[in-house]
């Protein structure tokens, strides 16, 4: 079962929920899909090893064969190719690796080579949770490609927890598009509430079952709870606005490790998710 932890906005506690949930369960995989800012391992401190380079195919133009017909540069939708009077210029950082230019070139002047976008890393040896993360190279824009490669390591026989990137754009869809359940983390402030509603739009449009975790509960007002009640959205867990939790977070310690009573609460949340999924399954049949 794949469970994504997401939020309309960063900084709401996505990583906190992912980590504490993963640490409370056994036989789970944890994936840090926030490849622009992967933070999970700051809290886990695992030794990591590279398991794969994420690459993107890029064209290499043989200037001798090229007749400067401009077919390729006219075609490229990402403006990665520009025709000069005497040659074709290529901008690797704009290329999405679609392969179109190589297919089009009638002179067979284009062959493909590879460009590195980032890496996939895994915790060394046996770790609990089994941990994978993607890391996007600095200055690189193909976030979704790294996320898609990372997700190849999901083992369908296990519970996989995916810490999704913030927002509602393409990297989020790449992360949560095919999960069984999505946990939306929010806080009950005007910003948090607004971002929650955006996130709800996303999961609804993807038809992914979901529930809400309220972080820093007690801060702000009751608008999130009222909204969830009105919309029939289940609130899975409330994490109080607690000094000890904030302090542990700032030091990079998942709070279940120092506050063991929370293990039970996260396991309860997991059970609630399973129940909700069983109910929706039943309703469908």
């Amino acid at each position: 079962m794949k469970i994504a932890i997401a939020s309309g906005k960063g900084g709401t506690g996505k990583t906190t929920v992912s980590l504490n949930l993963a640490l409370s369960l056994s036989d789970v995989q944890l994936f840090d899909c926030d490849v622009e800012e992967p933070n999970c391992n700051l809290f886990l401190g695992f030794g990591l090893e590279k398991v794969e380079d994420v690459v993107c195919p890029v064209p290499v133009i043989n200037q001798e064969k090229c007749s400067i017909c401009r077919q390729c540069s006219d075609f490229c939708r990402y403006n990665a190719l520009a025709a000069l009077p005497d040659r074709i210029l290529f901008f690797p950082s704009l290329c999405h690796g679609c392969g179109g230019c190589a297919v089009l070139c009638s002179e067979k002047a284009i062959r493909e080579s590879e460009r590195s976008l980032g890496v996939i890393e895994k915790a060394k040896g046996e770790s609990s949770p089994e941990f994978y993360r993607g890391l996007l190279n600095i200055g690189e824009t193909m976030t979704s490609a790294v996320i898609k490669t990372l997700k190849k390591y999901v083992d369908d026989r296990k519970t996989a927890i995916l810490d999704a990137p913030p927002g509602t754009a393409c990297p989020v869809i790449a992360s949560i598009g095919d999960v069984d359940y999505c946990v939306l983390v929010t806080e009950s402030t005007p910003f948090g509430f607004h971002d929650l509603r955006l996130a709800v739009d996303v999961v609804r449009s993807l038809k992914v079952p979901f529930g809400v975790v309220i972080n820093r509960w007690g801060l702000g007002d009751s608008r999130v709870e009222e909204y969830c009640k009105a919309e029939g959205i289940s609130i899975l867990l409330k994490i109080p606005n607690n000094l000890k939790i904030a302090e542990l977070y700032s030091r990079g310690i998942p709070f279940v490790q120092e506050m063991p009573e929370w293990n039970e609460k996260f396991r309860g949340m997991f059970e609630a998710i399973k129940l909700q999924l069983a109910d929706t399954e039943e309703a469908r049949t």
Binding site: L42, G99, I138, T141, P190
Partner: protein, 310 residues
């Protein structure tokens, strides 16, 4: 005209709250909300939309079932796995590369425009504002950021403003790059948590990579003074100045609940502690204005930052 971009690497550091406060302090500025994916600034600034324009992102492929002979070539060549088993294109998966249109032997695929969001030119109580909204799952937030920035430039010319304050997106990817390129100064709002420190390093790598002058502000510095020290040392090593440190204060949430900027909120508050907090923000702003002015002076002999090894 100068451009200041406020970014944070990680979300939730108080970036938007600070940017909104700066907006209320700046004398002659345009506000550009480039945190287009889940933007929040409008909740405080309440812009009145003057002009609205559809924003077209990358196109999306469509297969005409009448013409398609199900030969499977498009599926084979699509590198994004966007063509499904029954020869339909998944709009979320399609990258708009158009390879399928040239591969299809029957000319059954066409590219269609898609509205990926809206860009707005608006008016707020602190002056004009450029902002946008991005449709769900859309691919091109980097391009949309550029669209907001060019709108902001137009507004600045129209209203004779000399500064654009850009609220930037989180992360170091496509949209963050679009928000900082060409900026005169980047302010990174950081917090002294382990993840805050880590993300600060990543965004500083980014601003150094693009050779943009950068300053740092540490928010909630007192929640972990050790990490605050770490940030200060790290910045000192890079020659990046820390222009302010703000303590943790509930006022941030209180002002937000009243939909006011911190500066406005403090005007109606009698609490000494709160007005001190606002005063610190004013000081940070004054320092930044000074830096921006100096950048203008130095324009001729631009100093380039060296690429440092992290």
């Amino acid at each position: 005209m100068k451009q200041l971009t406020v970014i944070s690497g990680k979300g939730g550091t108080g970036k938007t709250t600070l940017t909104a406060a700066f907006a209320s302090l700046a004398k002659n500025a345009i506000i550009a909300d480039c945190d287009v994916d889940a933007s929040d600034m409008h909740l405080i600034l309440k812009p009145k939309v003057l002009e609205k324009e559809d924003y077209y992102g990358l196109e999306v492929a469509r297969i005409d079932p009448e013409l398609c002979i199900e030969c499977g070539r498009c599926k084979e060549f699509c590198r994004y796995g966007a063509v499904s088993g029954n020869f339909k294109v998944d709009p979320y998966g399609c990258d708009g590369c158009a390879v399928c249109t040239v591969i299809c032997p029957k000319g059954a695929v066409s590219m269609e425009k898609r509205i990926s969001g809206q860009v707005f030119s608006s008016e707020t109580r602190f002056g004009p504002m450029a902002h946008a909204s991005l449709g769900i799952g859309e691919e091109t937030s980097g391009k949309l950021v550029s669209a907001v920035r060019s709108n902001a430039k137009k507004l600045a010319e129209q209203y004779h403003k000399d500064l654009i304050i850009i609220d930037g997106p989180p992360g170091t990817g496509c949209s963050a790059i679009s928000a900082i390129t060409g900026a005169d100064l980047v302010l990174v709002v950081s917090e002294p948590t382990v993840s805050g420190v880590h993300d600060l390093k990543r965004v500083l790598e980014l601003t150094v990579h693009f050779v943009i002058p950068t300053v740092v502000c540490i928010n909630k510095y007192d929640i972990n003074e050790e990490n605050t020290q770490l940030i200060e040392n790290f910045c000192a090593k890079l020659g990046i100045s820390v222009i302010g440190k703000l303590p943790y204060n509930d006022i941030v949430t209180k002002a937000m609940l009243q939909e006011k900027t911190l500066i406005e909120y403090v005007k109606s508050s009698k609490c000494l502690n709160e007005s001190e907090f606002a005063d610190q923000i004013c000081q940070i702003w004054t320092r930044m204005e000074k830096i921006l002015m100096n950048i203008q002076d130095k324009q001729k002999g631009t100093k380039t930052l060296e690429m440092k090894n992290f």
